[in-house]
């Protein structure tokens, strides 16, 4: 049997890589993709705990399901905003959207 720690380490690595992408990338769509990586890492954690430690194994899976659903909603909304930004500014770089710095 694979120890629980393996899954936790995998999800930690995935979350850290996604965090690096969120902080290092400039394109809004690439930042969105990195956020998806972070959410996937969190879902792995939920499902691993549900299967290994919860005798019922249900709540964690429901959480993973809701994370996936909310991520889908978030991607749809965020891409609408990125398209709007691109139409008004001709760029998808987040550091170009600084009109508060007038």
């Amino acid at each position: 049997m694979i120890p629980l720690e393996n899954f936790l380490i995998l999800s930690g690595i995935l979350f850290a890589i996604g965090l690096y992408g969120v902080m290092a990338r400039r394109s809004a769509i690439l930042i969105l993709m990195s956020v998806e990586l972070m959410l996937a890492g969190v879902s792995i954690n939920f499902v691993a705990f549900a299967t290994y430690l919860d005798g019922d194994a249900f709540s964690g899976m429901v959480f993973a399901l809701f994370v996936i659903t909310v991520a889908a909603a978030e991607v749809g909304l965020a891409l609408g905003i990125v398209l709007r930004l691109f139409r008004e500014r001709r760029t998808a770089y987040v550091d170009a959207a600084d009109s508060l710095k007038w």
Partner: protein, 188 residues
């Protein structure tokens, strides 16, 4: 990929690792390489393809954790819907530009923070003492029945949230109508 697969198969034949462990390390490799590709590749379309690989590897991990339903949802929603949306977003925002994107100058700082946080996670996971491990599995049929019985209100709330978010996305992304453009021009 191929050399790692060969090494894993050699270990399996030599009885060093079991079948599930082979699947785990294979999925581990796919996920970590795909995630690194997503955050490091300068070509934005190739980064999206690496993201698909990473997310499908995550679906493999779910299968290994006996969560078949979550794995199916992962393949359908992420591998199908989300990545398709992202690639359409790429098409509509970077079409006339170079597909290569430059990263910010904050890279070293981001690398430092990510390494520190990842180190904390790994150290904490190795250090923690968990209770007795019990592998428990929920069959498909029970999962659906209990989802709509015990979690009915959250399911409805998530449905309303999805509706609102996608409607907002459409309203945001729609090209401005003539009347809107005139009034915006007049106001601006």
């Amino acid at each position: 990929m191929a050399p790692i697969l060969l090494v894993l198969i050699a270990l399996l034949v030599g009885d060093q690792i079991t079948g599930p462990e082979l699947v785990f390390w294979l999925a581990f490799t796919v996920i970590v390489l795909g995630a690194l590709g997503t955050v490091l590749i300068p070509n934005i379309v190739h980064a999206a393809l690496a993201l698909i690989a990473a997310l499908l590897g995550v679906a493999g991990i779910y299968v290994l954790l006996a969560a078949e339903f979550i794995a199916l949802v992962q393949v359908m929603v992420y591998g199908g819907g989300v990545v398709l949306l992202i690639i359409f977003g790429l098409m509509m925002t970077n079409a006339q530009d170079d597909p290569l994107v430059t990263d910010g100058s904050q890279k070293p700082f981001a690398l430092l923070v990510a390494l520190l946080l990842g180190g904390v996670f790994v150290a904490a996971a190795l250090d923690a003492q968990w209770g007795a491990e019990t592998v428990s599995v929920i069959p498909f049929r029970d999962f659906g029945a209990r989802l709509f019985r015990d979690f009915m209100v959250p399911v409805i709330i998530v449905g309303v949230l999805l509706d609102i978010a996608l409607t907002g996305g459409i309203v945001n992304a729609r090209p401005p109508l003539h009347a809107d453009a005139e009034s915006e021009g007049g106001a601006g």
